[in-house]
């Protein structure tokens, strides 16, 4: 499926794009009835042009702004079309996470001000939202990209304010990833795919973060000025 995300706020987007009740019902039905192989391409939009993410601190903030928008859209969809067998506890976590991702996204947008990257168009077709394994695996994959992105950006940022802000968010992203991992595969919260033998969590090169997150985005990005290790 493809959601146009103009402001990082998916609800607003749904209204703008005519996500009326019947369309929302369609997704609910699709999530509840259709099984594997669910293909949602009903709301196709025209391919956007390349979006410049910026350089220096603005580039790093835009990178995470983009990742948070993907998370917000992902959790929104997961809440609208819950997978088979979802528990009440999991449902409430997805709703909480949706609001937290919106908070991060809107926060980064506010910090960026006029440097905020242009709106992105999501493409979440990699995930099958009716399927528990697919939803949770994609959710923790995106959360790991966020953890690696914030941790990797820490040593590249110039502004101490932004370093401080990233610090306060990254541990929450790690909590998020651990939760999704444990829910899918108990005790995998900090396994060797996330934490190395020194006890260090992921720290990912910005270009690799962008390559990973672009799997969930239709928009193409110009990352030529993004800082690197």
């Amino acid at each position: 499926m493809k959601l146009l995300n103009t402001t990082g706020n998916v609800q607003e987007v749904e209204t703008e794009r005519g996500f009326d009740l019947s369309r929302r019902r369609f997704f609910q039905l699709a999530g509840g009835i259709t099984g594997a192989g669910l293909v949602l391409s009903a709301c196709r939009t025209t391919p956007p042009s390349t979006t410049y993410v910026g350089s220096g601190d603005a580039g790093l903030l835009n990178m995470m702004y983009i990742v948070e928008q993907v998370q917000a859209g992902f959790y929104t969809q997961a809440a609208i079309t819950p997978y088979y067998g979802i528990t009440t506890s999991e449902s409430s976590c997805f709703i909480d996470l949706r609001d937290q991702a919106i908070a991060h996204s809107e926060y980064l947008k506010a910090l960026l001000g006029t440097n905020a990257a242009k709106p992105i168009v999501l493409n979440l077709s990699l995930a099958i939202f009716a399927d528990r394994t697919s939803t949770l695996a994609n959710a923790y994959g995106i959360a790991d990209l966020a953890v690696g992105g914030y941790n990797g950006a820490a040593r590249l940022l110039s502004s101490t304010d932004f370093i401080h802000a990233f610090s306060k968010i990254v541990t929450v992203q790690a909590r998020r990833s651990a939760y999704m991992r444990d829910t899918l595969n108990y005790n995998s919260f900090a396994d060797a795919s996330a934490v190395d033998s020194n006890g260090l969590d992921l720290a990912t090169e910005p270009a690799s973060v962008m390559a990973g997150i672009e799997q969930y985005i239709q928009t193409k990005f110009d990352i030529s000025k993004l800082p690197s290790f």
Binding site: R155, L200, A203
Partner: protein, 300 residues
Amino acid sequence: MNFKNILREIEKSDPEVYERLSGRRQVLKSFGSKVAVAALPLAIGSLFKKAYGKTADANGVINALNLALEMEYFEYNFYHTANSLPDLIPPSSAYPSGNDKAGFITIEAQEKAHILLLNTVITTLGGVPFTPKNYSATAVNPLYVPSAYDFTAGGTYSAVFNDYPTFLIMAQVFEDTGIHAYQGQIPSLWSNASVLGQAFQIQSTEGRHAAHVRLIRRQPPISAPENPAPWINNNIPPTIALQSYYLGEDNTQQIGGIDISALKDSYSSTGTVPLLSATAAFDEGMDSATILSLIQPFLL
């Protein structure tokens, strides 16, 4: 390249730069016309290193890492004790179907790795790594110092190693406190990018640990009454007696002067981010005096 111009620019942005060095005249003298042009970038590099890389900043970095190291010893000793007990962590006689032991062995191993890593970094920076009271480098396992800790806090939590739910309460509090400690020290690490990066990576590992413990408490068979999420909603403690470990977690004012609970969220009934999520979306820091006062009851 006009070196005087560069110095003038630095002066503008940091009027105290010469106090960090040895006076402008000295700096210019040491960079007199005899310095080959090709050597200038290197010379400037070492000048900046002298101004910003050492002295107070270096001590600040070492002090920050030593507080982190103290927390890591604390947590490692807590988990090493618990994992050594045959019937505390499920599968156990109280919770025969549980499968929690593997997770706590992972956590213990990563706390140990953090001790070793921080020891190395502090030593490399020229500091003296923290050691717990009664530490002995020649002990069979020098990192395990049971005579330094009393995790019952003088009997207040006497069931901590007998009763799994009590153990989990303390594990959650210690993990969240560890994160508060790292968060509080991040501003002391700004002068050293690679150490800063590693501190980020350690504290996010701690975030995974905290989420895991909190999820165990959320789910059956524990189903803790306050229904903890893997993250910290508001400033809700596991018990009222432990409220001080969560003070400030209900903050919504974040860096940049932005109130998270005032940000737009069309899914919320109020149109803005709900308070529980606004507070959960950010972990908060505590200063070293606060952290030390919080672990003090558990030290011998």
